[in-house]
């Protein structure tokens, strides 16, 4: 009796641990992610509110690091080696409005590169919790 209840429960618990690369596929794998990130880093310095923070960034290096990060988050075969989010944004006193502005630029880039809306939100769901390391409350 206990077994019949426990087994499905254990299977359920095990599910999230399984490698799921459906988001990675939906984004068109690494090339698809890179295309969005190239677009994204082109748009960032032009943004009215947060653009000035990205004037000095090397677009190629930045896009490459972001690609690794999103590829890993999406379940792809990548391993992000870039700076820790908390350390990278320390002392910047970013507000939630700055964070959301960045999300908006990303949304524009994702839409321009034809990422389906549901796949956009699935990626944002992985990125959004980073607000705790980035935004100064």
């Amino acid at each position: 009796m206990l077994k019949t209840i426990l087994l499905p429960l254990l299977l359920l618990l095990a599910l999230p641990a399984q490698a799921d690369d459906s988001l990675y596929s939906a984004w068109g794998e690494k090339a698809g992610i890179r295309a969005v990130m190239d677009d994204f880093v082109q748009r960032l310095p032009k943004h009215e509110r947060i653009g000035r923070r990205f004037q000095a960034a090397d677009p190629d290096h930045f896009a490459s690091q972001l690609t690794e990060q999103l590829c890993e988050l999406a379940g792809g075969p990548c391993s992000y080696q870039g700076p820790d989010m908390k350390l990278a944004h320390e002392g910047m006193t970013l507000k939630s409005g700055d964070f959301n502005a960045l999300v908006e630029v990303l949304q524009a880039a994702m839409a321009a590169r034809g990422i389906p809306f549901a796949a956009q939100n699935r990626m944002l769901a992985k990125l959004a919790p980073m607000h705790r390391d980035i935004v100064t409350r």
């Binding site: 507000k95 939630s96 409005g97 964070f99 999300v103 549901a118 699935r122 769901a125 992985k126 959004a128």
Partner: protein, 296 residues
């Protein structure tokens, strides 16, 4: 002096440029009929406008609903600060058309003024995507009804009060992974027909805790569809007019919200307001709802 005013002007200009622009599309909800941010019928834990951390924002709205027997118009505004506090005001005018003709009151308008405050207690409905905890807010709506020539009957034999306060606790969560927003609101209220028929009755002065549920699916950055269900008290069910004469039902709607940009949104809905004074008009009041909101 001149320098100071120049400085002030530039500070204000900076504030205006940043005011109410820091939140993502539709994450301030739309304006409820009662003025607070939420769905159409139910206040949510979200604060209105696009004011993010440290920002001020404002919204203004106009709403019209037409059912088979009645018409309802509302308008109002809300002020939000820091994704934390929201203040709102709304006016409603309910057109009873010819339903009250048997009482000698054809064309009577029931009016109501509502002031509201909402305080976010915890959570971030949108950004805390890896947690199940919702954004939680506590809200208050103070309502004052102006039932016109129906007033003496309402506050006399029916025993309702003209003004009343509602308290609500709202929990909102955006399941970003599924592009789905859910909201549960618990409202403590004595309002009859949302307050348009006053508060409580001669036979029933108790507060009721009523649940309200909203679901919204984001289809595109600018487009959401959803449904709402709102339970209501029923204090006038037993009255001197006979049991059931003023029975009220729960409210339902199915809506579509479209926001072409951060300053403008439209909400259209099919509403079911249940029976309203069934002794005078026994039909369920189904109809259309249209609302426009400006945000700054």
């Amino acid at each position: 002096m001149k320098t100071a005013s120049l400085l002030l002007a530039s500070l204000l200009a900076t504030a205006a440029a940043q005011a109410g622009s820091g939140k993502l599309l539709l994450t301030g909800g739309v304006s409820t009929l009662d003025g607070a941010a939420g769905g159409g019928l139910s206040p949510w834990a979200l604060t209105g406008s696009y004011a993010a951390q440290g920002e001020w924002g404002a919204t203004a709205f106009a709403t019209g609903a037409k059912t088979s027997g009645y018409g309802l118009r509302g308008a109002g505004a809300a002020l939000a600060w820091d994704e934390r506090l929201e203040f709102s005001i709304a006016r409603q005018r309910f057109d009873t058309e010819n339903n009250l003709a048997p009482l000698g009151l054809p064309g009577l308008q029931l009016k109501q003024t509502i002031v509201g405050a909402k305080w976010r207690l915890a959570g971030d409905a949108v950004l805390d995507a890896d947690r199940w905890q919702p954004q939680i807010a506590l809200g208050l709506l103070h309502k004052r009804a102006d039932p016109g020539a129906f007033g003496p009957t309402l506050t006399g034999p029916l025993g309702a009060r003209r003004s009343g306060t509602e308290l609500y606790l709202a929990a909102t969560k955006l399941w970003l992974n599924h592009s789905l927003l859910t909201n549960l609101t618990l409202r403590a209220s004595r309002a009859n027909q949302n307050g348009l028929l006053g508060f409580g009755g001669a036979q029933d002065q108790r507060w009721r805790l009523s649940p309200e549920l909203s679901l919204a699916l984001l289809l595109a950055p600018q487009l959401a569809v959803g449904v709402e269900a709102r339970a209501k008290p029923d204090a006038l069910n037993r009255s001197v007019l006979g049991t059931g004469a003023l029975k009220e039902d729960d409210w339902f709607d199915a809506f579509i919200a479209f926001t072409p940009n951060k300053h403008l949104s439209f909400t259209a809905a099919a509403v079911d307001l249940g029976r309203i004074a069934p002794a005078l008009n026994p039909r369920r009041q189904r109809g259309a709802y249209l609302s426009v909101q400006l945000a700054f």
